[in-house]
């Protein structure tokens, strides 16, 4: 855009002419138009290439747990990173297998609200460092498959303008795209060598949270700690949640045993499965299956070359040897502890294990084993099969024992509600079920070996066992509704089913509209004795023949409390039509009655009945109706919903 350089004249001009600067206005306009056009073009190109927004959050049915994954670097040029193509294949496989990504905010809402549900097969994808290449690669893949992720960021690293990390500008774009959420990267540097002070850490996390919120314009609710804690260090496990709370962070991710995250898990200690670059898509899916809440029976005959990913080793080591699973302690350690993935929140379960022979040291199978909480275990030690209960204070009560001979040993343990049934080689260890210690509500299935010998406390493989197979299954809560005086057929059925029951509900009472209520004249005391012997809860049934009228709720409640007050009763089981249980009045009535009964130490159960014969639950009908918690509408020998809403 050169202007004239000289004007050729033949004579020297006698006077000077000022420059007409106004001409330059046109050039300024042309420049402005050009620059504007370029900027518009750049914006158009960038918007054309921008990725579509993430798929909307789907409503779902998952109310129990979700699994979180954590990824390190994703790169095609670094040996230690997950290759880009592998990551893409993993995400595609996850999508194909029906997994849906969830967001932190969604998870938090789900944790706080019992009514909230997550999509089926919920998955939270996290990245523990904001590497540029990782995020760009992941974002591209997320955009194509409709997934979301969470990245934990150290703001001071981004402030260093290191081109290997994502820039603030780009991070903001990623968050704005809707595909990404951000958390505080908690303890990846030496500044957090040990959790010794809540105050110092909380100040740091709060500062970083504020920086992130200011920069990104989004609330920050989570932090992660990608290093293992030393649980033996006094207070470390307590400092972390206190720190998060002080820094106003509501979700914390830690490093520990892999597993799903359940609704009532502590919000500060959510677990993540670290994805290895060695895994294929099938490996990843297998691990997810292994750690998702286990709702189906599990059988392992140990015929594969390697142990299944379902087994999570906390201590020691496991290996498949000649069609058996060898569980052993490592050198320098006294024992080994293995957990079956996906069983962290098993309440009622049954497990059966066959040992190849006597273990070296002690061998135990446990249900509901949580650190610091009571549980029950069945094991073999020095030729004896033992059933023990761990108390809250750590001491053990021996419930039963029996000598076991050499050869294969089959141990079976079942826990339903507070009842424990154990058998060795098919023979019950106890004549009546044992009682679970109080406070043992749920927990995983674990296998353990232990060497208590003082002579050789930590020799290599000092404790070990070989297992031929393991069978385990979660058990539904079942109870029986029976006549006040059962007939022979009902008794036969009852004896057959007793091990699967946790409650017995004889039909003692009815209530009809108008306040008419009836109570059976005769009761078979044997039913109560049977229930007590088998440690079944005894909740007589109160059948509501009609809808609850608002004018009768007070009287009904008083009568129910009166009936439940019987010291022989553990509470009442109200049987009502499902159609009447859904309205607000009924819900309020049941909630109120439940609270009042709980205050008196009584239990209220509710059985909702669908379209079946009306006389199924009549007082006169002699039958045993088996009911399962959380099922569908009852039919004879089928299941029904049975819980107070």
């Amino acid at each position: 855009m050169a202007t004239k350089q000289t004007v050729v004249v033949s004579e020297f001009p006698s006077s000077a002419h000022p420059v007409g600067h106004w001409r330059n206005l046109f050039w300024w306009i042309a420049l402005a138009v050009t620059v504007t056009a370029i900027l518009q073009g750049v914006e158009y190109m960038s918007s054309a290439s921008s990725s579509p927004p993430p798929a909307p959050i789907m409503a779902g049915q998952e109310r129990e747990a979700f699994v979180a994954l954590v990824f390190g670097k994703i790169s095609s040029s670094r040996d230690s990173a997950i290759p880009t193509e592998s990551f893409r294949a993993d995400m595609t496989a996850l999508k194909k297998a029906g997994y849906s990504t969830v967001r932190l905010a969604q998870v938090r809402r789900w944790q706080l609200d019992d009514e909230a549900a997550l999509p089926e097969k919920p998955l939270l994808l996290t990245f523990d460092e904001a590497y540029r290449e990782t995020l760009e690669t992941a974002d591209e893949v997320f955009a194509s498959v409709g997934m979301t992720g969470v990245v934990f960021v150290n703001p001071s690293l981004l402030d260093q303008a290191n081109i290997h990390m994502v820039s603030w500008h780009r991070l903001k774009q990623l968050v704005k795209s809707g595909r990404w959420e951000v958390g505080v990267s908690g303890c990846q540097d030496s500044g957090v060598g040990g959790f010794t002070s809540t105050e110092v850490l909380a100040q740091r996390y709060a500062r970083e949270r504020k920086v992130l919120e200011q920069r990104l314009g989004q609330p920050i609710i989570a932090a992660d700690c990608s290093r293992a804690w030393n649980a033996d260090q006094s207070g470390e496990a307590d400092i972390w949640p206190q720190t998060l709370k002080a820094a106003s962070l509501s979700v914390g991710f830690v490093t520990g045993l892999w597993g799903a995250n359940y609704r009532d898990d502590p919000w500060s200690g959510l677990r993540r499965i670290r994805v290895s670059k060695e895994w294929s898509e099938a490996d990843l899916l297998a691990r997810l299956e292994a750690h998702a809440p286990r709702r189906k029976p599990f059988i392992d005959h140990f015929q594969a070359a390697r142990s299944a990913p379902d087994w999570v080793v906390d201590r020691g080591e496991i290996a498949i040897e000649d069609g058996a699973l060898r569980v052993a302690s490592k050198e320098g350690e006294q024992g080994a502890l293995v957990m079956l993935g996906g069983t962290e929140h098993w309440q009622n379960a049954g497990v059966e294990v066959q040992l190849e022979g006597q273990p070296q040291g002690q061998f135990w199978i446990s249900l509901r084993q949580r650190q610091g909480e009571p549980f029950v275990r069945l094991g073999v030690s020095e030729g004896l099969a033992l059933l023990q209960a761990r108390n809250k204070d750590g001491s053990f009560n021996q419930l039963a024992s029996r000598e076991v001979l050499s050869g294969t040993i089959t141990l079976a343990l079942r826990v339903v509600d507070s009842r424990v049934v154990a058998s060795v080689n098919g023979r019950p260890l106890l004549k009546r079920p044992a009682e679970m210690p109080a406070g043992s509500d749920y927990g995983p299935l674990t296998l353990a070996v232990w060497n208590e010998s003082d002579e050789d406390p930590a020799g290599a493989g000092s404790a070990s066992v070989r297992l031929n197979w393991v069978k385990a299954e979660p058990l539904p809560q079942k109870y029986g509704i029976v006549a006040a005086i059962p007939g022979a057929a009902a008794w036969t059925k009852l004896r057959r089913e007793v091990d699967d029951l946790y409650m017995l509900s004889p039909k003692y009472f009815t209530w009809a509209s108008g306040g008419t209520h009836k109570e059976v004249e005769n009761r078979d005391l044997a039913v109560e004795i049977f229930a007590r012997h088998h440690r079944l809860k005894f909740l007589p049934a109160l059948i509501l023949e009609d809808n609850i009228r608002s004018s009768e709720t007070v009287a009904l409640a008083e009568q129910a409390l009166n009936w439940a007050a019987d010291p022989a009763f553990d509470g009442l089981n109200i049987i009502m039509k499902r159609s009447t249980a859904g309205d607000r009045q009924s819900k309020d009535f049941l909630a109120n009655l439940d609270a009042r009964m709980a205050a008196k130490g009584k239990i209220l159960a509710v059985t909702m009945v669908g379209d079946i014969g009306q006389d199924v639950f009549s007082l006169s009908r002699d039958d045993l109706v088996l009911v399962k918690d959380g099922g569908n509408i009852v039919s004879e020998d089928e299941y029904t919903v049975a819980s107070v809403p």
């Binding site: 004239k4 350089q5 001009p13 420059v19 420049l31 260093q160 820039s167």
Partner: protein
């Protein structure tokens, strides 16, 4: 382009170690080969600079301020080279207006006679030019030498101050007593090439041109490394920077050593220029830049690459640094003033001017950040190396450009000067800004 025929013989200058400013040591095939190497070097440096700038663009958001600066500097420098390719000196249309050559002198007894001698040796109609010497209260033998020159050239006009009043007063006095249509100001230690006057006046054929900057090279180039660096620097400053500015008629500084002004335009602004004040202090230094600014506001100011003179530059670092400090002070003052009207100029010239206004101010801050803060705070030793590489590449570009045109051994000093600037001169700017009100000349 050999200029030996246009200069006084060296025998006439026994006491000065003055080299021909243009002394190609190679001719013919060697010259072609050297030029090819120079082009390759320029291309290589440009490629590296562009590569670095591309990374500034790619990773822009990591350090937006730094990257914007780097990109702007890169674009600016490359644009100067590109524009200078399109520069054409004023066409020789054969005009020969009356010229008053004004030489201001203060304690220049060693060079004044030779300067006058050069002026009277120019190839220009004798009846169309006069030479005026204004002695600014010299205390050495300057007046004696001027008297000696008057004996040889009786038509020589002398204006003598009884005391030192400053160069601006001397230049104004010369303008007042002059009668020529064109005023050519020559420093008392500068030597005009024989065709210098003839060439420089051709620029005034354009009635919108109020001033023409001549091309100046270093007379004492062979003295030492410092003078060689200044030679390379002068060459690039004129042949690249001024040439690029001249395309838009927006040369921002006509050098005091050799420039021409239309007398009528000078007289318009003479009083204002003489009485210029800045921050409440009378402006003494920066006379050339100040006068250029006042004319640039209404007129065009161009550069003539064919109107050549040489000048004696500082040979000692102390004097050189003082001179540079003075130049920076005048640059800062006049740039702020020019900023008020440069937006009226063609957009590319205006944008380049405003960008160039920021560079020397931002540079010290940037160097501190790159070379101190980043390594200490972030353990980042890559960024200063990249910065240094970019600087070296730009210096090499300047050197290669010099090599292309001059083909002498001084070419590498262009790179040395760039490094010298980064180490020493860049820090003068904050000091120059802070000491604006100190209007001492520094080198007198």
């Amino acid at each position: 382009m050999s200029t030996t025929e246009y200069f006084l013989s060296l025998e006439s200058l026994p006491d000065q170690n003055i080299q021909h400013p243009t002394n190609p040591e190679s001719t013919g095939f060697n010259r072609t080969f050297i030029r090819l190497i120079a082009i390759a070097l320029i291309a290589l440096c440009m490629a590296v600079v562009l590569g670095v700038r591309w990374s500034n663009f790619t990773y822009y958001w990591y350090q937006p301020f730094v990257n914007a600066y780097s990109i702007t500097v890169g674009v600016f420098i490359i644009s100067r080279f590109v524009l200078s390719v399109f520069y054409k000196p004023p066409k020789d249309v054969g005009i020969a207006p009356t010229v008053s050559i004004i030489i201001t002198a203060f304690n220049e007894e060693e060079a004044i006679y030779r300067t006058v001698e050069c002026c009277y040796s120019v190839d220009y109609p004798p009846e169309n030019f006069e030479v005026i010497v204004v002695d600014d209260g010299s205390t050495d033998g300057t007046l004696r030498e001027v008297s000696r020159a008057q004996e040889r050239w009786p038509q020589l006009t002398l204006v003598s101050f009884d005391r030192n009043k400053g160069k601006r007063e001397a230049m104004a006095a010369g303008a007042r007593v002059s009668s020529g249509e064109i005023l050519v100001y020559v420093d008392s230690d500068s030597f005009v090439r024989r065709d210098g006057i003839k060439k420089i006046v051709q620029g005034f054929a354009d009635p919108t041109v109020a001033a023409v900057a001549g091309h100046t090279e270093v007379a004492n180039v062979a003295e030492n490394g410092l003078t060689r660096m200044q030679q390379a620097r002068y060459y690039v400053a004129f042949r690249v920077i001024k040439a690029a500015e001249s395309i838009f008629g927006a040369v921002t500084c006509c050098p005091g050593c050799f420039s021409a002004y239309r007398r009528s335009c000078v007289m318009e602004v003479l009083d204002r220029w003489l009485n210029q004040h800045f921050l409440g202090v009378r402006a003494t230094f920066g006379d050339d830049r100040s006068l250029t600014n006042m004319l640039l506001r209404k007129y065009r100011v161009i550069y003539s690459g064919e109107a050549i003179a040489t000048t004696i530059v500082p040979e000692k670092h102390r004097k050189f640094l003082k001179q540079q400090l003075r130049w920076k002070k005048s640059w800062f003052r006049e740039s702020l003033i020019a900023a008020t009207f440069m937006w009226k100029k063609p957009p590319l010239a205006a944008v380049a001017f405003y960008a160039q206004l920021l560079f020397p101010i931002v540079a010290p801050i940037l160097i501190l950040r790159m070379c101190l803060w980043l390594p200490i705070a972030n353990n980042d030793f890559i960024s200063p190396m990249v910065y240094f590489l970019g600087t070296v590449m730009i210096g090499l570009m300047f050197s290669a450009y010099y090599l292309f045109w001059k083909s002498d051994r001084n070419w590498i000093y262009g790179l040395y000067f760039t490094i010298y600037y980064m180490i020493f001169l860049v820090w003068q700017m904050p000091y120059a800004i802070a000491t604006q009100r100190n209007n001492g000349w520094g080198t007198r």
